[in-house]
Symmetry: C2
Subunit: 305 residues, 2 copies
């Protein structure tokens, strides 16, 4: 067993969560619940959010700025940045100005390419303490009240370390996520953004667009009145946090556009099939999709059991 | 109280369900459970389906063809046609050949315009005994095993009577649905097909198309591995019955194409907004969609309570 492994298996001394919304707040609550963290500090500019985080037992202390607590941090401590993607650069600037190089720094943003660019712009390089990550978990709920223990249990965390990232810091972040019941995987930044662009960002684009389309349909008054449960599930993600998703689309723009284009051309083929009343081809397309989706469900169910 | 009202409040004598899948089987089970029907007869060509329907207590008797039981039917009896949309014409032909004009005949197809055309083609007119209807309830599950008591509770049933439909038969069908806990509404055939084309058929087109797109993406091996719960909800309807949905798309082709075109042009606008990194406009579109979807959820929750 190497010295790195010994460090990695230690509980976190102090966890600092910057951003006390669904993602950051749920990690704080889950780590405290698991007893995997000696002290949790919350950072949020809004005093009401800080107060609720204390009241909910989410954090032990809270401050307006990372600068208020950074001098107390050292090896064994973790800073988790959980703010909307396009707010990360500003947070990184304040972190760089005060957080010691021995502290592990990670994030939860849904796009990794833009954050990596932010890191390079702010630090002039990728510091070995920085471990970019993305928990594949969430909800259409958001904010400090939506945070909950268990959000990450049986969910996947994708870490996207670069060659500069030290194993010690990476292992600490991986252990942190495993402590809250998550499975940790690794991808390179580019693959992460392409895959999530297709499986997560594209569905959100479609859901927002569909609901917006229907809300402005000429049958507007009636349109939602006659919708069923399937529609409710299908559009759930259109109730997601606007700023978070706006940032994701802008930060992962190229991959999102590519995914939209691929989908649009596939939809055009399906449209043509319907227009031509091509029953055999329609059966073929629907069967392929049903098979793929059933297979996906099967894989997800196996993960959970 | 008119004579019609008295008739309408009587329980159904014999209910004949043609098609013992999710829709037909669930009505049979729910009516039996509610004690709102003296006798339930199931019609299905497959002997194994008939056997399971008997075993599940869904029907009292079962036959391969409506001709086997039609001579026993009269006023106070209801025939419910619950087969895929494009199979309805053939069923109507057999119904016309043997079911007395005093029997109430209704259906559960998701498209009403095509069924009305079938009725006119088969009968040469719209007989007063025919009450077209559509329960806005379903599941991605299908078949005799998926049928269940309670599928229609707190769901809406849209009846689309024409001027030829008699009030007596319409009231009997409405009472039948109310007996299983459903709310009964009326729409004309054209509005029904336009509205359902947008709120139900279009989302299914999109879901099938999205899953098919992703299953053939170059990242195929990984693509579903990194998908989250939101994706699962979003694509649930792509696991729906292939034949049922193929028929719906073909039967409601024009309305579905119109809905696809409206959605595609809206998606193109959203794509342009992302391509131009227009943060304000993106916020505006997402906010509008979130507001509409939250409002829809609010309305649905009120219905259920």
């Amino acid at each position: 067993m190497s010295a790195d492994d010994v460090v990695a298996l230690q509980p976190i001394n102090t966890l600092v969560v910057i951003g006390l919304g669904l993602i950051g707040g749920s990690l704080a609550l889950s780590l405290k619940s698991a007893g995997a963290c000696k002290r949790v500090v919350g950072i949020a500019p809004d005093p009401l959010v800080r107060q609720r985080a204390i009241e909910r037992g989410m954090v032990d202390e809270s401050y307006a700025s990372i600068g208020d607590v950074a001098a107390q941090l050292g090896e064994g401590d973790v800073v988790f940045i959980a703010v909307p993607t396009l707010a990360i650069r500003e947070v990184l600037e304040s972190v760089k100005g005060c957080v010691p190089a021995t502290v592990t720094v990670t994030d939860g943003a849904s796009v990794k390419g833009s954050v990596l660019e932010d890191v390079k712009a702010v630090y002039g390089k990728v510091p070995e303490q920085l471990v970019l990550g993305h928990p594949i978990a969430g909800s259409e709920q958001s904010g400090v009240e939506a945070a909950r223990v268990g959000l990450y249990a049986n969910h996947r965390i994708i870490l996207t370390p670069t060659e500069e990232t030290s194993d010690q810091h990476k292992d600490r972040v991986a252990d942190m996520w495993r402590a809250v019941g998550a499975e940790v995987l690794e991808l390179d930044v580019e693959n992460h953004d392409a895959i999530l662009g297709a499986t997560s960002h594209l569905p959100h684009v479609i859901a927002f667009s569909l609901v917006d389309t229907l809300a402005h349909d000429s049958h507007n008054e009636d349109i939602f009145r006659y919708a069923a449960g399937g529609f409710r599930d299908f559009t759930r993600i259109a109730s997601s946090d606007v700023v978070m998703w706006r940032d994701i689309m802008l930060a992962n723009r190229d991959a999102v556009l590519e995914a939209i284009d691929l989908f649009s051309s596939n939809l055009a083929v399906l449209r043509k099939t319907i227009a031509e009343s091509d029953s055999d081809e329609l059966t073929e397309i629907f069967s392929r999709a049903k098979q793929a989706r059933d297979q996906f469900t099967h894989v997800m169910d196996k993960q959970k059991s």
